[in-house]
Amino acid sequence: MAKTARVITITSGKGGVGKTTATANISAALAALGNKVVCIDADIGLRNLDVVLGLENRIVYDLVDVVEGRCKLRQAMIRDKRLEDLYLIPAAQTRDKNAVSPKDMIRICDELRKEYDFIIIDSPAGIERGFKNAIAPADEIVIVTNPEVSAVRDADRIIGIVEADQKGPAKLVINRINMEMVERGDMLAVADVLELLAVELIGIVPEDQAVLVSTNRGAPIALEPKSKTGQAFRDVARRLAGEEVAFSTANGGGNFFGRISKLIRPKAGS
């Protein structure tokens, strides 16, 4: 049966908020749910999705090799060691973002759409060429932010740019929330961030040292059944796949969610 993949770009504006970690975990969780998934590292020159997924030793060809015709698209796709329906197209490490154009990204994604359920693109930070490459083929945009002033401000800029680019309303993942800090009034709460940004929430991920440990190992935390953070990423994947999944209270959902439910979806016409 012919598939028509949804192309989802993960972006943030600000660097260091956890885009690559989110891309790796959402992709792995979608594949674990039985979807055929390709993730593409669009951060040319600063590739990292390969190490976060633990696939760095298998790279032969990369995205720029595909664009410049040195290999077939299939040859640049690395199959994950744990999940047979998860593939990675790595970024080139020795080139810059001008080696790829938005048109190249659209062409590559169109070629993949027929055979996969999801194409997840890891965008570089910033709003320049690499970001434009990453959002060009996107059907949907997921914005990762932290409950912190500069990350929220940059997220708002990206939401505006994405809206102007007709990519539909962006969806939000709030990453690295620390409930103890929220409770003592020293960190923006989920409700605060949603009130400020006025977009749909699709994930609340706690701050967790275990994420660094999983990155050290090159094994996405979303594949650890007992991890709460892994569960938070699996919930994001299920919501993206169209399931209605309640937000867990421990992560700042629950009772907060009641107060903010009106803010979750932007008003019609906006």
Binding site: V149, D156, R157, R184, M187, A189, L196, K267, S270
Partner: protein, 88 residues
């Protein structure tokens, strides 16, 4: 020490400050309108309106208000009561 500061005037929680500061920053970012330009806009509006009607300059309030991701420029411009001269 913290309680001491709270007793006298009360120190605001840092999350509250973050939210208040972000609210203003986002309003100006979205409208591509630096905060200083608002004062200029206010002065120019008063000048134009004053050509036709006498306004209470000190009570004029102009602000950008948010409604979801939409923004409105909201102005409150009190008019001074007309001084009708008494005729004999």
């Amino acid at each position: 020490m913290r309680n001491f500061t709270n007793l006298f005037g009360g120190k605001k929680k840092s999350a509250t400050m973050a939210k208040e500061r972000l609210r203003l920053v986002l309003i100006h970012d979205r409208a591509s309108l630096p905060p200083g330009v608002m004062d200029q806009l206010r002065d120019e509006l008063i000048e134009v309106i004053s050509r036709h009607i006498e306004v209470d300059r000190d009570a004029v309030r102009i602000e950008i208000v948010q409604d979801g991701r939409n923004q409105h420029l909201q102005a409150e411009i009190p008019i001074k009561p007309a001084r009708v001269p008494l005729t004999d």
